[in-house]
């Protein structure tokens, strides 16, 4: 069940340049069903800004009823979110959407988690749950530059982790796709810029690939039709999926990206 709740901020810190990690406490945590779901946040009480902001859940804890998000301070909304301090309350609608399925993976499989920039966060809970299940995970995390890198250590604890930066200022110079070529695996879970997702979908049509998409949203719950994408098997027709309520995670080949 989706809930709307004033959640208490437990912690907020800048973990990389303009990248914030925010942990909140709320009853709605108990409703989370899978890694890769997201929440829709009203960052201020008034009309400025008007709309909620969709942010992925990067990890959660049923016992503490807490969830953590990682976001980039960018426009008006996320900048205001970054101003909030522990003890304050923030209006959250969630959990929303359908996350990554971990059921289709068998123990012994090797799974590649590929994240680009601010697409990295939802992979973290996924990684935790896969490792707990006994699955081998390899992480490939791409960033623009050294100052934007975050959570490398956290991922390292779960398995092999490659970090790339576009400018080569940290880790491997280049794109995640460069690293992927060198690796062996059964299945891919990925989240990041559309260009990256498209490349992965094309290059690994033989593999099982799960992609998490982004789209501008209105309602976040499936009512406004802001976030639709076409189904791949009907590119000129009227079939569609909604990123907010059918996704954000889709199987490669399901929708046009």
């Amino acid at each position: 069940m989706i809930q709307k709740e004033l959640c208490k901020i437990l912690s907020q810190k800048e973990i990389a340049s303009d990248i914030y990690e925010l942990t909140i406490n709320g009853e709605l945590v108990s409703q989370i069903t899978s890694p890769g779901q997201f929440v829709h946040i009203k960052v201020s009480n008034g009309l400025d800004p008007l709309l909620r902001r969709p942010i992925s859940i990067s990890s959660y804890d049923f016992e503490q009823k807490s969830l953590t998000m990682i976001y980039r301070k960018d426009g008006r909304g996320t900048s205001m979110l970054a101003e909030l301090r522990p003890g304050m309350f923030v209006d959250i609608l969630g959990p929303l959407g359908n996350g990554f399925s971990v059921d289709e993976i068998s123990i012994g499989d090797t799974v590649l988690l590929v994240g680009g920039g601010i697409g990295v966060p939802p992979l973290y809970e996924l990684s935790n749950q896969l490792v707990e299940k006994g699955v081998k995970v390899i992480h490939v995390l791409g960033f623009q530059t050294a100052s934007a890198v975050f959570y490398e250590e956290e991922f390292l604890k779960n398995g092999e982790t490659y970090v790339t930066t576009v400018d080569g200022s940290y880790g491997i110079k280049g794109f995640v796709t460069d690293v992927m070529k060198e690796l062996q695996f059964d299945c891919i879970y990925t989240c990041g810029p559309t260009l990256m997702l498209r490349a992965i979908e094309q290059n690994y049509s033989d593999k099982k690939v799960f992609l998490s998409l982004e789209e501008r949203m209105g309602c976040g719950i499936g009512a406004c039709f802001a976030c639709v994408c076409k189904k791949k098997d009907d590119p000129t027709g009227v079939s569609y999926k909604k990123v907010c309520s059918d996704g954000p995670v889709f199987r490669a080949g399901e929708v046009l990206i």
């Binding site: 789209e215 039709f225 309520s245």
Partner: protein, 313 residues
């Protein structure tokens, strides 16, 4: 006593609050949050003869105290609305106002004829004002004679009262209102969105794939209030007002302007509970302002006193 009951052509409303078309889908999503039977009515998403995919994404962009949308009338088409969406809604004790759209006069007429037969559709809302589709829509909404004729044609086939949704993107809204009244409209709904645009600072290009979109939300409320204030003094048919309604106070302001019921659009996205919350808060606010019944508020901005004949249940 029910302080909120309102009777309008075709509509016996337990309260005058209803979600606006396009902002509530066909109710399924919001039925997760509350019992839709608490609503006065539901204005369902625009329905066209054929299924439509709508515009490319991005389809929404935020603005100061508002948002732009260019959904492009995406909808599953008349057949599916009749066979799936309306039956789903029939489990709730709530009248449906069906938003009717199209590209050609014939399209409107066909949707109107068929959808008005559905048992839970108690009124039609003729969407002659959608700014986000290339053909039809906007032309019907800006030329009085064309609007009048379309209204007449739809009235001929509809089995329920017909409300016409006016576009604010005109020089003379009163002229449009009078034209559709002369065409036989049983009521008006206003306003649809203002045409607007936002550009991306980084790319220099429009944020919306459709370039322009419809501006909704609190930003447009003063424009809507002004138009309803003018139109309600010039026509004899009732008005369902909309544009930026977020609170019980906003509802009263619309009634003062001349509305007899109010629709809530964008605010549902911000707070899915906004409609039931407003419905709950209205009686207390009426009490505080000294009204026995919400109908006493209609047109107070321009009337000395007294009520409109048609809007007290």
């Amino acid at each position: 006593m029910n302080r909120l009951s309102i009777e309008l052509p075709g509509l016996n409303l337990k309260n005058p609050i209803m979600p606006a078309s396009g902002c509530f889908g066909f109710g399924r999503e919001y039925s997760q949050f509350y019992d839709l039977s608490v609503l006065g009515a539901i204005m369902i998403k625009a329905t066209t003869v054929e299924p439509r995919f709508g515009n490319a994404t991005p389809r929404v962009a935020e603005t100061s105290a508002g948002m732009l949308n260019a959904i492009g009338l995406q909808n599953p088409g008349l057949k599916k609305v009749l066979s799936e969406e309306l039956p789903f809604l029939s489990q709730y004790d709530v009248p449906i106002i069906a938003n009717v759209a199209g590209s050609l006069e014939e399209d409107y007429v066909e949707v109107a004829r068929e959808i008005s037969k559905a048992p839970n559709v108690h009124a039609l809302e003729l969407n002659i004002s959608c700014p986000n589709v290339k053909t039809g829509g906007i032309a019907f909404g800006t030329i009085p004679e064309i609007a009048k004729q379309l209204t007449r044609k739809v009235k001929e086939v509809s089995e329920v009262p017909v409300y016409v949704k006016l576009s604010p993107n005109v020089t003379n809204i009163v002229e449009m209102a009078k034209a559709v009244e002369a065409g036989g409209a049983d009521g008006l709904t206003m306003i649809n969105t203002l045409i607007g645009m936002r550009l991306d600072l980084k790319t220099g290009k429009p944020i919306l794939a459709n370039r322009t979109g419809g501006l909704s939300g609190p930003a447009i409320k003063p424009v809507a209030i002004r138009m309803i204030h003018e139109v309600s003094q010039a026509v004899e048919i009732p008005i369902i007002g909309m544009g930026g309604v977020e609170t019980a106070g906003d509802v009263i302001e619309y009634f003062y302007a001349g509305a007899s019921a109010v629709a809530v659009g964008t605010a549902n996205f911000v707070d899915p509970f906004v409609c039931p919350t407003i419905i709950e808060e209205l009686p207390e606010l009426l009490e505080k302002l000294g009204f026995e019944h919400i109908s006493e508020c209609t047109g107070r901005s321009w009337k000395e006193n007294g009520q409109l004949a048609y809007n007290r249940a």
